[in-house]
Symmetry: C2
Subunit: 978 residues, 2 copies
Amino acid sequence: MLVWKLIIRGLLMDFIISSEGIKNKNIGIVCGPDTLSGVRKIASKVAGDIKAVFGYEPQVAESPRFKSPICVGITGDKLIRDIGIDTSDIDGKREVYKLEVTGNALVITGSDKRGAIYGLFKLSEMLGVSPFIEWLDVKPPKMSTFKIPSGYCMVSKEPSVKYRGFFINDEWPAFGNFCMHNFGGFNAKMYEHVFELLLRLKGNYLWPAMWAEIFPEDGPGLANAELADELGVVMGMSHHEPCLRQGEEYKYLRGPKSIYGDAWNFLKNEKGITRFWEDGLKRSGRFENVITVGMRGEADTAIMGKDATLKDNIDLLRKVLKTQNQLIRKYVNPDLDSVPRMLALYKEVEPYFYGDEKTPGLMGDPELNNVTLMLCDDNFGNLRTVPTPAMRKHKGGYGMYYHFDYHGLPVSFEWFNTSGLTKTWEQMTTAYDFGIRELWIVNVGDIFSNEYPLSFFLDLAYDFDRWGTTNPDAATEYTKLIVDRIFGSNVSKSDRHAICDMLQGYTRITTARRTEAMNDRVYNAFNYNETFDLLDEIDSLMKKCNRMREKLEGNTEFAFYEFLWLPLTAGLNVQRMWLLTTLNHAFADLGSTYAMTLADMIKECIAFDRRIVDELHKIHGGKWYGMGLSEHIGFNNWCEEECKYPVICTLEPANKERLITIVKGSCQSTEGKFWTGRVLLLDQFLDPSCDEASLFLSTACGKKVKYSVESPCKGLSFSSMEGTVKPYDLYELKVKIDRKAIKRGDSTEFCIHSADGYTVVKVPFNRASSFKGEKVCHWTGRKDYGEDLIKANIFDRSLKKEAFGMNYISIPADGYSRCFSSPSSASFRLIRDYSRGMDAVKAYPQEEVFGTKNAPYLEYRINVPSAGRYDVTLYTNPSNPFGREPRILVGYSINGGNIKKINMIPEGFAVGDGNPYWSQGVLDNVRKTTFTVELNEGLNTLNIHAVNPNLVLQKIVICEEGAEVPDSYLGPKPTYRT
Amino acid sequence: MLVWKLIIRGLLMDFIISSEGIKNKNIGIVCGPDTLSGVRKIASKVAGDIKAVFGYEPQVAESPRFKSPICVGITGDKLIRDIGIDTSDIDGKREVYKLEVTGNALVITGSDKRGAIYGLFKLSEMLGVSPFIEWLDVKPPKMSTFKIPSGYCMVSKEPSVKYRGFFINDEWPAFGNFCMHNFGGFNAKMYEHVFELLLRLKGNYLWPAMWAEIFPEDGPGLANAELADELGVVMGMSHHEPCLRQGEEYKYLRGPKSIYGDAWNFLKNEKGITRFWEDGLKRSGRFENVITVGMRGEADTAIMGKDATLKDNIDLLRKVLKTQNQLIRKYVNPDLDSVPRMLALYKEVEPYFYGDEKTPGLMGDPELNNVTLMLCDDNFGNLRTVPTPAMRKHKGGYGMYYHFDYHGLPVSFEWFNTSGLTKTWEQMTTAYDFGIRELWIVNVGDIFSNEYPLSFFLDLAYDFDRWGTTNPDAATEYTKLIVDRIFGSNVSKSDRHAICDMLQGYTRITTARRTEAMNDRVYNAFNYNETFDLLDEIDSLMKKCNRMREKLEGNTEFAFYEFLWLPLTAGLNVQRMWLLTTLNHAFADLGSTYAMTLADMIKECIAFDRRIVDELHKIHGGKWYGMGLSEHIGFNNWCEEECKYPVICTLEPANKERLITIVKGSCQSTEGKFWTGRVLLLDQFLDPSCDEASLFLSTACGKKVKYSVESPCKGLSFSSMEGTVKPYDLYELKVKIDRKAIKRGDSTEFCIHSADGYTVVKVPFNRASSFKGEKVCHWTGRKDYGEDLIKANIFDRSLKKEAFGMNYISIPADGYSRCFSSPSSASFRLIRDYSRGMDAVKAYPQEEVFGTKNAPYLEYRINVPSAGRYDVTLYTNPSNPFGREPRILVGYSINGGNIKKINMIPEGFAVGDGNPYWSQGVLDNVRKTTFTVELNEGLNTLNIHAVNPNLVLQKIVICEEGAEVPDSYLGPKPTYRT
């Protein structure tokens, strides 16, 4: 004891970790005699981290023989007391640590076990060690010396959310095969990796895999549970596994002669079920757990049959809860309030909690006192009902069960990561602001590939001050951080920047449509060029990603492969395959020989998909064997049943020389034959800022086709005036406009001649300043834009009659001219890169319900060619009602008129399996709400007023009442503005 | 002169034609000095016919030097007078001949030129010469001797219809290239063949090709017109080519300096147009013509613009008619009434004829006095408005323009023959019965391949007594006749019978859906097995046809090729290709590897289509070169523009071992996986007369799949209890039921096991006599069937809930239990093999409008499981309203209740381009009319009462109100009856 004092006393020196120091055993990690074994184990892992950085591994010892010891312990430990650390600033706090250079020592003091562990890992982090060092084999940059200045002292904050964790789920075939191959089962050898990952990510809570596994038995025996407890991992079980028993257990324990009976039915088999729970609590109650209470049916289904009334169900649950609480008092702790318990308000349990007018729900039931009520998202990342201000007072607090992986209706998502950070940020900050702060758990499927959003989720839960509501750039900032943490100086700054772009780039695409739900009928082949544009984006991302991978070496290359290359490439290759299929079908439908080229490209994608899986299963000696086993292409049911590869279309080329001309960005096409006399419309030049547009040329026949352009207009120029289109090819004929060279009255019509075809193309256009010296616009984001200005050829009525041509105005969410805050400073805020490649606007405080007066609003200014009725369509996130009422109201007003409120939740909407509105919303990740307004000729003001939470607006599209805007997945691109 | 008397006087002997006699110049054809040159030319052709039969060609001479002369002439000819033929029975008649053995001579006397010609060809017919001897190179059976008994005398009837002819139309590229290749143009060399064909078929009237040709100029010069006149062919021009000038003429004669002006516009260019007509009449007026009057726009379009009123148009036409009549009086014949003239009431001219309430139409205009009013079908073989009893008195009478070929909306039909005889019979007898008897003309496109319906059309027009309304078996009888005429004893009787079956077989299929309009979306891939059944029928026909062709030799083989093999094979190969495509898409959609086998079969069809055309173009030294040049596959417009070959679907086989099970005859399929748990329903055994049904098995994967059947029911047996399904294959698993072996209460459910799939199949069934000793039935054709009998498991409600299972009753038209005639003996009659492979019923007299009382009706008896509202759908021919009102009424009554009348013409229907109801009707060749009735439980009586003409009923389908009967092209097959 005295020795310690000697060492640290009187010295005022920097703490230096160096290769030399470690090699010479001057530096080591010191535990005390009573240091918890879990802390010691983590200390050893940190020793390993230090070795990874400095090349030498410090010893972990009890004796103070090092010149520069790294001492670790928790408040009250002998070692900490001996050193004389002042723990008053961490005493009694949750999971807090103090990191202090004192004398010759670096002392890490935890307020509790996890505090000490987080403190140890904090040191690793300071040394540039990634939390994925073990899980993804990420090697940190080498250092020879690292200095912590004398007097350094930092005290961590208490984590924002009490229980922060993830759920290994839907683990077959991928994670399951991975476990069997690498560990021989779901045992403690495997779980040690998972626990370490969880702790390094600052989580503390885990739901184990449970499809076919029993955590408390597979260790073998209790080894899993004991290890978790040792390392400070709080175990939960999934929302439908009460009293520390896994669903699978009952399956093999039940039977006619079983002490547990033979029915998962509390009415018919109360005794057996009670005994089953009792034995679970006896076995595992001594470990740190959050005990699930309540009861659902077997395999995640409703507990009672369809004929049972609400009251039957509620009465049963009350009885179940009472029984369970009695058991917990008896076998875990007579002080029930000190036992963390959780009731999941999942699927059918939600109505039991709320009840209805006739039947009081479980809300307020004394058996639920101090039980954490776990709410959930809709399995697709959109929160369901959140607590009202009154409910937030519930003593047990609230939890949130979120999903980065889902196995269920309408279509599962399990194939590598398809979750981005921004929407997670928006939804989980909403949860937090609504008071859901006790427990956050996220379904991460096989874990692997979901490290990016998982890491964010846990850091957000750990440090809401930093990443939460007040930081609208959290997603981008965090992306930068995680890339720095993984690659650090192993990768140049500019390459790290590129990696960030790729991370955000691929998740932008996979969140717009998840892999399994992607097919050839999602994006429109031609309209707005969305399929071609997305293909370009994918090609660019995949190429960049390949180049980067080729450039990197060793473990850096491998980490890049795991963290980015694989999820990006495997995901985008599937996206690409389907987009090519969309085009293949569309070109085949036109009879274009380009369909056959696309067919070959699709086949390459399929072959590549197989190569990706093969590589994954072999790489690093089979480290990730199994992780590519999930079916992931062309789901026709919610699950893999009847899934299929793309149907590839080919056709026999036509007999005669025939040229097909398509207006790029639209579905218009023709072979330019006499009898049909179809005329094409190139309408891009209606936008005065656009001076280049294109036609696609391809052949219907197997021979080359010659074409020539006949254009009398001097203001139009072409990428070529004549040429040959080869079969199986797609040729882009570019058209440029020089508006100044066009005199009033000049015809801009041109013609493409080929064989016996002549394709007439009409080219309407607007001049840059065609009205009163002001630019023509569809809408304006300029607040100083005059009221009296604009009347222009915005919709061309004669063209519109022919059912094509630009017949809409499209405004992005950030296209408002002014943003008005409420007196209380409530205001809309912009969320960049929210989803589907678009920004969004949302009113804050996001938990506030606004009255008509004093609500914040946005002013959009739109310019229409004539007075009349117009349809306004809002593109929003498919948010669910925040309360029990099926309602998300939004207000709008026109030209300063009264505010009208409309409900964005369609009639018949319900969150859940089989509901068509909800299903479409979560698949498409968008909701469209249309209302009709009267507009004046020229400039109008459309104000959008906040009313209810959960309005996340991304786009506004306006067209004449009843007009059909060309179909697409992403909706019309923004039209021209000034 | 005296010599003749000597020869024939006093002798009473048979007239014998023999090879020997011809060789020895004892037999020859004798003309008189004033015999018309046209008759002489035909006499030479008949001499050729005789050579074809007997091996030696008789001389055609003026001198009576033959022992057995065949004398030919017309009433009043010197030769006929000299012989002393009594012509009193033919004098003054139209186109009549007398064929008489008198003395040593056979004398053919015509009442006029065409009478003599038809008489000559009658002799050929008697000798077994086909009317196609020249056109199709049909060689007659050889004979050495043919005897006409002494005293033989036959006098032909006057033809039923005055002008009987066809229109060579839509002649490019096929007929046009054929002409250029074989004749160097549309000249007299070519037309001689056409005239001969026309006359041999007993026609007398022709509209020449006119797309790019000028009949009166291409002869060269007037040679075409002169030859027609010489041979007695009455020339018309198409409905929009007035005053003997072809549309093409104006095109090249017009111009700024032309005497005809430069506008096809009677308002702006009256002088030029009048001059144009005048010169036409001057040139061609001296020939025998039916002069078209009236005026349409250029190239078969409306004459005035869209903005012209009805009155503008009518006034203009009155003026046009007046001018034309004046010109005809001046340049053709001052006795206008003796000049055959025709006004076509085609397309927009029809409303001008009728006018409206405000504007009197052309009807009754004195300028139309004695002008034949030509009505028309809807271009697809369905009559349009027919004359009312009052209108039938119009002095000029009525004509009918019918189509076996059409180039226009909604989809052209030009590729070989797609017309059958029965519907033509039904429609043209209707025309005749409605008083349309002056002129029948049919558009035969390229002629070639349409010989079958053309020949029937002209014979029907020539001899309505034999083939018309009173002969309901005309189609079958005529088919036998034409086959006998072509093949005679060159082919055995049983083979001729087989040829008849093939003729009716292929036209049954091509009339159900014409070639160009056929595609993969016509027939339903699975429902009612209609696609598979039709494929079987086609395969059987094509095989029989090939075998027959292989068996025949020489010219018989060639005639068979032309007349049957080519249209059958070329047509059915395309049908087959599309049916395979329907299946290819459906199997690809299911992810079945059988799709790839189908893909290969489609490619074979495409290659075969090309081989067929190649052979056609080379056969017989290029005799038919050009006739295969029309595009004919996959029309996407009404014309060939953007037509395309089938889009062929393939896909990558699935990764896992997966078996796909389909219930044959339905769209039900499953892979039998746990999660979706889809159950199949084999419902054929609900029909007590059915004891075999099938499942189709195929693989989703590229590997073999093993399966085994688990069936606890002793009453079910299977074609195999286990086996292996190969990839790319389709395997039929047959299920037989032995009802007696099934005890009450036995489950008939069985299961097919494979890999991790288990497909559960439910097998509901009815016993043969499961209710009160009577057979279960859906409907009954037995009039003695008791009222009190039946109540059975007809619809299985529990199965219906799952949206499949037999949920309808389908009764064929002839399934009535009784037929009630009116007191006037009006009655329904059965028309066998009417269209779409179905019989039909129609009320006769077919021109009669029935009141509610005393109308004939049919009684159908239907058996439903419960009282309630049921939808009754009538499948009828898509007939057009017979009058100006948009109306075809039909009456129905239930269980003896009041008769309700409904209109089968849907609201918004109009005959003509672009009308969706009409277009769908002519493409599908069916109209469906649904009404709702209240039925009692058990047996009900549904009476169908005649009201308006044009009800041609084929099928009645009954289901519960609002229930959806599984989709199909042909409709549900008849359900079970007793």
